[in-house]
């Protein structure tokens, strides 16, 4: 199968201010968030980036979404470099995270049209897509309610729909089920499977083993900014289970560090 995402030796460091050094309890002036990370994602699969808090998952996904630039290394999404052609990458991907907020003042209907226009989607096509997506997520009843007045779950659904107004072939989703109740979480995971069935490629980040086991085809385990293991879920897990595999690797990785 063709690789639609190739991550090559990506490194990302952050300069720490005195205040941050205190919070992180370190004397180091720089924090290596992503440390020479490489992995590949095949077309049409759901890839799960699994790691503990602070492993560098969000940082990696932000680099893929071209919001921040790697210090060195690169990644190619659908053949486009995130370093060399960020605008083109952005027009081909959908990026979702709970950090991306919608303006409280506007309605889902208005924001959908606004982002469609910014993505240059044809009006008729956008209208059609909007109708389908709004119906699928039950947003149609709330289409004219201000974002401020929507429930957390409904906000999340609207965010999700708006991030795919341009029908991207590659979707990046940071912590898809974080902070959602079981019903909304289920809607989201069902939707990811639905997108996969449409031939889209998806990369998610999570620290929830069961989510990976349920929906992912491949998994990359990331600890301290490095991929310690990446591959087909079945071959990674083998006869064991994901949690055991993870802790095995985690112990080894932390032991090496000390």
């Amino acid at each position: 199968m063709e690789n639609v995402l190739v991550v090559k030796n990506m490194v990302k460091t952050f300069k720490l201010s005195a205040k941050q050094q205190k919070i992180e309890k370190t004397n180091l002036k720089v924090k290596v968030a992503v440390n020479d990370l490489s992995f590949t994602v095949k077309k049409g699969e759901i890839y799960g980036l699994l790691g503990p808090n602070g492993a560098g998952k969000t940082t990696t996904l932000r680099m893929l979404a071209t919001l921040i630039k790697p210090d060195s290394g690169d990644a190619e999404i659908l053949g486009k470099s995130v370093v060399a052609s960020p605008d083109e990458v952005r027009s081909r991907i959908g990026f979702l995270t709970s950090e991306l907020k919608l303006e409280d003042f506007f309605t889902p209907n208005y924001l959908y049209d606004y982002f469609s226009a910014l993505h240059g989607v044809d009006k008729a096509v956008a209208e059609n897509r909007k109708r389908n997506l709004f119906r699928k997520f039950g947003i149609d009843k709330f289409a004219e309610v201000k974002i401020a007045d929507l429930s957390t779950g409904m906000k999340q659904k609207v965010s999700l729909v708006i991030s795919i107004v341009h029908d991207p072939d590659f979707i990046i989703f940071d912590e898809p089920t974080n902070g959602l109740d079981v019903i909304t979480a289920r809607t989201v995971t069902d939707f990811l499977l639905d997108l996969k069935s449409q031939g889209k490629t998806i990369i998610i980040s999570t620290h929830i083993f069961s989510l990976v086991e349920k929906i992912c085809d491949s998994v990359g385990i990331i600890i301290n900014g490095k991929t310690v293991l990446s591959g087909d879920l079945k071959s990674v897990v083998g006869d064991s289970n994901l949690e055991d595999v993870f802790f095995e690797l985690y112990k080894k990785e932390m032991g090496e560090d000390e």
Binding site: F14, R62, A65, E99, L100, K101, E103, L118
Partner: protein, 380 residues
Amino acid sequence: MSNIFIIMKKELKRFFTDKRMLLSLFLPGIILYLVYSLMGNALGGMLSVGEGYKYKIGINVESEYYTDGVFSVLEQSGEIDFEKVVEKDEIKAMAMLESGEVDIFVKYKKGADGKLDEFQVFFNSVSPESTTIYATFAPMLSSMSATPIFSVVPTDTATAEDSSMMIIGMMLPFLMVTFLFSSCMAVATESIAGEKERGTIATLLVTPVKRSHIALGKVAALSVTALASAVVSFIAVITSLPNLMESTAGTGVEIALDLGALEYLSLFAVIVLTVMLFTVLLSIISTIAKSVKEASAYAIPLMVVVMVVGVSGLMGIDFSNPLFCLIPVYNSIACMSAVFAGSLNPLALLCMVVSNIALIALGVFVLAKLFSNENVMFGK
């Protein structure tokens, strides 16, 4: 290009359909109108002359051929009721004028060859009685001075503090700049620092729209909004000003309110460019700041600079060297004052336009750079 308009449209919708936003944008203008109008009416009431008032006209000679002539003309016209007060001592006469014992003082001077050569007229601009009689009496004297032996030298005995109206007149450009700054500040901090704080700008940054287009769309929308609010304040000042001025007619306040098309155009250019400059500067500040609060705090030093430059523009407006009009803010105030005084130098206007356009262009460039800087947009 079209993305700039899409962003601009959304920003404008945000500002012009939000009641709270509208209130904060347009309330200052409305309050200003009310205050100025009330002040004008109050002053107007204070400064009017009572019905049937008997004017006291002071003069330094008992009876002379020419002065008797003047008084008989005044009497015959029947326009006003007056009495003649003779006071030979000029210093005493001035004291009387200030205390209101006389409303006007006419100093008659005989020429060396025995011919009458001068009338000097003193009045007090803070006294409505004095200004009213001056307005009636002075033209009469000047019409009589058609013969070359007459000359009328009006002298105002009012002290500088008395001419508070004059200061209000001079304050107008300064007030205008202050309004422009505060409306720009309200919208820029809300639209940029506010969006950063709430995490909504990141949603915009994951779209393929160019950073420079986002910056331009925002600046354009912010300028239009700030301009609308400033125009409301300005109209408030202009419409309430006649009230204020009427009550102080003849006090020497020189504001040409009947401006011509060219003056209006110049005024418009000054206002638009000032608004855009403030918008760009405050947008840069709001982009660097992480929250509205931080942005407002960062804007204070800028506000102080604007005020200081503004006041210095107010104090020593020097039109002699138009190159001074290369200094931002100072040039706005200087050009506005010049327009009101009807003495705008085209070179000064040109310097103002060139300097502001250059600064705005530079500012937009910096802003676009900041929008593509990840530490600025996503730094913790």
